[in-house]
Amino acid sequence: GDSVTQTEGLVTVTEGLPVMLNCTYQTAYSDVAFFWYVQYLNEAPKLLLRSSTDNKRTEHQGFHATLHKSSSSFHLQKSSVQLSDSALYYCAQGNYKPTFGKGTSLVVHP
């Protein structure tokens, strides 16, 4: 079956430095969208980024990700993190029966 893998459970970064959160996937579908959702403490998850186009960079709130179908990856990156970026990040495949990764908790410290 389909799966989404986020290898890091916890990432700790100093404010102002870059970060990359990993996401790889397995899917039987050739035309499906991939997502990054962000969940701040005591809030609901909400959309951060979405992409269904191979090799096209998608950006929002300073974060960016590029869907690479050749390597089955959709890594999330930011060049300079802020304290307010501390949150739980989920990578997901957006089929009618969606698949989520286990989530990566990003902690940004001064």
């Binding site: 986020q6 459970g9 499906v32 969208a33 997502f35 959702y37 809030e43 609901a44 998850p45 909400k46 959309l47 979405r50 989920y90 997901a92 957006g94 089929n95 009618y96 029966k97 969606p98 698949t99 989520f100 990764g101 286990k102 989530g103």
Partner: protein
């Protein structure tokens, strides 16, 4: 815009009790979902419904029932609460066209 409402916000139950969680959305979305969120385990799909009166099992459906009586509402029942169970249940609906999911604020369950 729209909103997803989940009731109750907090639910405390006893072992063996049947507990019902409710979800309402005013996006007019066709597809709705129930997830269970446990620390370190991500979002696990319990049930989903593609349209009114449709029900599909997710990966974690054992121990749960669901009901989609109308387009705007989707209920989840814990058929027999397990002692010391603690989790957050999230309801979501899916936008037609771009597949984005919109989540409710969650119901926090604690079983004593």
């Amino acid at each position: 815009g729209g909103i997803i409402t989940q009731t109750p916000k907090f639910l405390i139950g006893q072992e063996g009790q049947k507990l019902t969680l409710k979800c309402q959305q005013n996006f007019n979305h066709d597809t709705m979902y129930w997830y269970r969120q446990d620390s370190g385990k991500g979002l696990r799909l319990i049930y989903y419904s593609i349209t009114e009166n449709d029900l599909q099992k997710g990966d974690l459906s054992e121990g749960y029932d669901a009901s989609r009586e109308k387009k705007s509402s989707f209920s989840l029942t814990v058929t027999s609460a397990q002692k010391n169970e603690m989790a957050v249940f999230l309801c979501a609906s899916r936008a037609t066209g771009d597949d984005t999911q919109y989540f409710g604020p969650g119901t926090r369950l604690l079983v004593l």
